[in-house]
């Protein structure tokens, strides 16, 4: 059987985190009642005119800089003409031949193999309204119409659904780092169309591509790609030909369906938008914006390892998500032992997040409170078992570690006199075990330490208790 190579390119639409829409002053707030954030401009009323949102231009340029793009010194807007009920003007203001950003790329790693996926361009445009379908009628919510959108077009550099997934995740990570978007898929902040083709191994020119739309989740993208590879492979291996077409992913059936072929593709009749002036981005301005860029995930990973002495693995996990990284940094800076903070993050914090299926932003223990808890452990004010208990109290009831320890009398007992009383009691009550210990059973000693901890209600400093037992028993 012939082997096929897969070629995938992605078009990712990202809603920008601006206060107001792309071409008017309406709010971009998500989840408001339908058609409450509208005006003559975003409703396409006669006589209204668009005015450029400079903040949106800045966010797109920042994204471009984070992704290593060249920033076009002059850029312009165009009208893309087509009729659809979600389009107030029946043309979309977008950028055709002079986008804001050109070139660039994203580094991905799949199966230990690093690759760079090229970016062709990033252009600025406006979102469309949202069509809502009910049993007997349809409605249009224009709150979304005119929300700033950037479209990131990749090169056809991906060769598997896994690579496409890695690209999307890496892209999302970078955009979250840049703070340009919430990249919330549920709210439609980030949407993706794919172009995919296959060709027999050894063939140089790319096969005929299909464009697939309507994937609402990353999982959907992955499944659609897998389905489409199987479909195209079957068509080609059985002697058929792939037609250039747009297909729709149906998540329920797990299949793609043809929407339209090349023959009935739209002629968008692009022409320069006469209502907007070209965008000039002088070097000084771009340099100023570049200076305000946050570090990239890869840079942060290296810095975490270097600055806080973390193992490579820990640094990678903590830097992967910007919010997790931010949490760690606040906690680490408030603690004498960042490595201990990292350990807490990697174990108890991460476990809690996955158990509760929440993100770090919804985690109820603030980073400085975690730092305080770690600090108490480090100062040996509480032992590690107590620390876990305090952690779970903080999680369920809130409060600060210091207060909880004080209020509940959980402080570790390091006073030799107090511990000696307990040690003596244990020795007096466990003659049989002491005999075992003396005859060389190591487990017996652990049992005795455990008895000291039990009788001290876990508060005895286990190190002091152990040393004292050792000394008394060897006398």
């Amino acid at each position: 059987m012939t082997a096929y190579r897969v070629t995938i390119g992605l078009e990712v639409h990202v809603q920008l985190k601006t206060q107001s829409k792309m071409f008017c002053a309406c709010s971009t707030d998500f989840g408001q009642s339908p058609n409450t954030q509208v005006c003559p401009v975003c409703l396409g009323y006669p006589g209204s005119l668009p005015v450029m949102n400079r903040a949106a231009i800045r966010l797109t340029v920042m994204s471009g800089l984070m992704l290593g793009c060249r920033i076009n010194p002059t850029s312009k807007f165009d009208r893309k003409n087509y009729f659809y009920p979600d389009m107030p003007k029946n043309y979309q203001i977008t950028q055709c031949d002079k986008p804001l950003c050109l070139g660039g790329g994203v580094d991905i790693e799949v199966d230990g193999k690093s690759r760079r996926i090229g970016i062709t361009r990033i252009h600025q445009e406006e979102d469309v309204a949202k069509n809502l379908h009910y049993a007997k009628w349809s409605g249009i919510d224009y709150n979304r119409a005119g929300v700033p959108l950037m479209e990131i077009v990749s090169e056809p550099d991906m060769e598997s659904p896994e690579e496409a997934m890695a690209y999307l995740l890496a892209l999302r990570q970078i955009l979250l780092y840049a703070g340009v978007s919430d990249c919330n898929l549920e709210e439609g902040n980030m949407r993706c169309d794919v172009n995919i083709s296959i060709r027999p191994e050894g063939q140089k020119e790319l096969g005929t591509k299909a464009e697939i739309k309507n994937m609402n989740t990353f999982k959907g993208v992955f499944a659609a790609l897998q389905y489409e590879i199987a479909r195209q492979t079957e068509v080609v291996s059985s002697g058929g030909r792939i037609v250039q077409e747009t297909r729709r992913w149906d998540a329920d059936s797990g299949q793609t369906f043809s929407m339209r072929t090349k023959e009935d593709a739209h002629d968008y009749r692009y022409f320069p938008e006469p209502d907007l002036m070209p965008v000039a981005l002088p070097d000084v301005l771009v340099a100023e914006w570049a200076a305000s860029l946050p570090e990239l995930p890869a840079q942060r990973r290296e810095r975490f390892a270097r600055e806080y002495g973390l193992p490579e693995y820990d640094a990678r996990v903590l830097a992967a998500d910007k919010a997790v990284g931010d949490y760690f940094e606040i906690a680490a800076r408030g603690s004498p032992n960042p490595k201990a903070v990292s350990n807490w993050m990697m174990s108890d914090v991460m476990r809690t997040l996955s158990e509760k299926d929440i993100s770090i932003t919804a985690f109820t223990i603030p980073p400085d409170a975690l730092a305080e808890l770690v600090g108490l452990t480090e100062a040996k004010a509480i032992n590690s078992n107590t620390a876990r208990e305090v952690f779970s109290i903080m999680l369920t009831e809130g409060g600060r570690a210091g207060e909880i320890v004080a209020a509940r009398g959980l402080a570790q007992v390091s006073d030799a006199g107090a511990i000696e009383k307990v040690v003596d009691q244990v020795i007096a009550e466990n003659a049989k075990v002491i005999e075992d210990f003396r005859s060389g059973k190591a487990a017996a000693f652990k049992f005795l330490v455990g008895q000291v901890m039990r009788l001290s209600k876990g508060k005895a400093n286990p190190q002091i208790a152990g040393e004292m037992l050792q000394r008394k028993l060897s006398n």
Binding site: P40, L43, G47, S48, V51, P85, P88, D267, R269
Partner: protein, 509 residues
């Protein structure tokens, strides 16, 4: 749609004639009305009532207005009278202005002369309207126009034709034919029009009033329903050049809501009127005075040139060789932009919606098929064609290049002159139906006005006499970008030296 309301009059028809000249406030110029109101010689209510009376007398026949809201106008007028008594001032306080039905006035219809906007009530004020409102203007009615400003005779209105006050068998010009006719017939003190290829200047010329097309961007387009975005400009239509200067003064200036508006400072246009023509050089484009000109139009314009010479202007010949290509260029760029601008009229959100649609595409097809008139459809198809894949470079891109050459022609010409004189149109007003069968002939009537829009510069139409048939002829004064002071100065000096602007048509009966 707000229905045309009967104008209630305090006077009977006979009284209007008996009261005599002194009371005929509707016949006054804008400047005169402003003066009378300021000196408390009359009230805004009297002015508005006088205009409403004129409308009642004449407009059934003339049909310059699509809607007149008499009650609202009188209410506004009363409010300004009270405001004045309370000490409020305003450059247009209490002055009624007629508005072409393409400009958005909050709470009023804005049909653009089209069935597709039937029933649409504007939710906002255009910037130009807002600026007039701040100065106290009263908006009493909406004037007729070619559908979406596409046309040169107002015959393309979905709501019937407007008659030329000088000859009821003739067109008033267009597309701002309603505004020109009501100003000429004293059914308005002053009016606003819009000019994309001559739509203010040509009807002003046909009706014998003053029409100013300012430099592209001088007045904000926000709220002006777009026909061809890169060419559209709002312009005053008045009884005198001074009145046009006054309205321009109020409306001009940058607007954050219109990115194409020019934020350069607005000069004192009225002050510019004080200067005479001595030391000015006026250019005559040699290409504009060869063949095809109506003999009386040519004579009147030549006489006007001699008047300017007599006033001290130096007359030189200039070359505008690319103007020949202007009509072809215009009929690529304007329809291309229009094809996108008019896409929003789809029956989904406002205006007319066709009944019985099966699905959204069917709704678009039915609504647009029933809602648009033939000329609008012609231009949408033309525009769609020239933007189509494979034709874009040959048409649209090429037209943009020619447009640049046309602009350069003017730039060269303005190196040797301060303003350019020409006819506004090759002919006077023609009869109804005379040009409707041949759209190309109609298009050629804009040959002297279209280059000005393509170049983005300013032009003024001033009455310069009559044909043998007693139809008005207009003199066009063209100035460079932001050269409004120069053309207003020429227009005013010429107007002061002649009496044409004082002539009034008889009652069209």
């Amino acid at each position: 749609m707000v229905r045309r309301q009967r104008v209630k009059s305090r006077y009977s028809i006979i009284e209007v004639f008996v009261i005599g000249k002194g009371k005929m406030l509707n016949t006054l110029t804008l400047s005169a009305v402003v003066g009378k109101l300021e000196r408390l010689e009359c009230r805004s209510q009297d002015v508005v009532q006088s205009v409403l009376d004129a409308i009642r007398l004449k407009d059934d026949r003339l049909h310059g207005y699509l809607t007149v809201d008499a009650e609202e106008a009188l209410r506004q007028a009363k409010a300004t009278d009270e405001a004045r008594a309370a000490g409020r001032t305003g450059r247009l306080l209490g002055v009624p202005i007629a508005i072409k039905d393409v400009l958005n006035v909050k709470g009023q219809p804005c049909t653009c002369g089209s069935k597709i906007l039937k029933g649409y009530i504007s939710p906002y004020d255009a910037t130009a309207i807002a600026r007039l409102r701040v100065e106290g203007a009263v908006f009493l009615g909406r004037t007729n126009m070619d559908e979406f400003a596409m046309g040169s005779s107002t015959e393309n209105s979905a709501y019937g034709v407007t008659r030329n006050p000088w000859n009821p068998d003739c067109v008033p010009g267009g597309s701002s034919g309603g505004s020109a006719a009501v100003v000429a017939a004293d059914e308005a003190i002053a009016a606003l029009g819009s000019d994309t290829g001559g739509s203010v200047r040509q009807p002003a010329s046909f009706c014998g009033c003053v029409g100013l097309k300012p430099t592209y961007g001088r007045i904000s387009r926000y709220g002006l329903t777009a026909y061809a975005s890169s060419l559209d400009q709002i312009g005053p239509m008045t009884k005198t050049v001074a009145d046009a200067a006054l309205l321009l003064q109020v409306m001009a200036g940058g607007d954050p809501a219109d990115s194409s508006s020019l934020s350069v400072p607005v000069p004192d246009y009225t002050a510019a009127l004080q200067k005479d023509l001595k030391g000015m050089t006026l250019g005559l484009p040699r290409e504009y005075f060869v063949g095809g000109l109506h003999v009386d139009v040519e004579r009147r314009v030549q006489e006007a040139i001699e008047v300017c010479r007599g006033l001290g202007a130096r007359i030189v010949e200039v070359a505008l060789p690319r103007s020949r290509e202007a009509i072809a260029t215009y009929y690529i760029i304007a329809p291309a932009e229009a094809s996108a601008n008019l896409s929003r009229f789809d029956g989904v959100r406002y205006g007319f919606r066709a009944a019985g649609a099966e699905d959204p595409i069917d709704l678009y097809k039915k609504t647009r098929a029933q809602g648009f008139g033939p000329e609008v459809k012609r231009r949408i198809i033309l525009g769609t064609y020239v933007l189509s894949s494979g034709y874009y470079d040959a048409f649209y891109l090429r037209a943009q290049k020619v447009r640049t050459l046309i602009r350069r022609d003017f730039e060269e010409a303005f190196k040797v002159c301060d303003a350019i004189l020409s006819p506004v149109a090759p002919t006077p007003a023609y009869r109804f139906g005379e040009n409707t069968a041949d759209p190309l002939q109609m298009y050629l009537g804009d040959i002297f006005t279209v280059p000005v829009n393509l170049a983005g510069i300013c032009g003024l139409s001033v009455p310069c006499g009559f044909t043998a048939d007693k139809l008005p002829v207009g003199l066009q004064v063209v100035g460079p970008a932001l050269g409004e002071e120069a053309i207003l100065r020429v227009g005013h000096a010429y107007e002061q030296a002649t009496q044409w602007h004082q002539q009034r048509p008889g009652s069209p009966s």
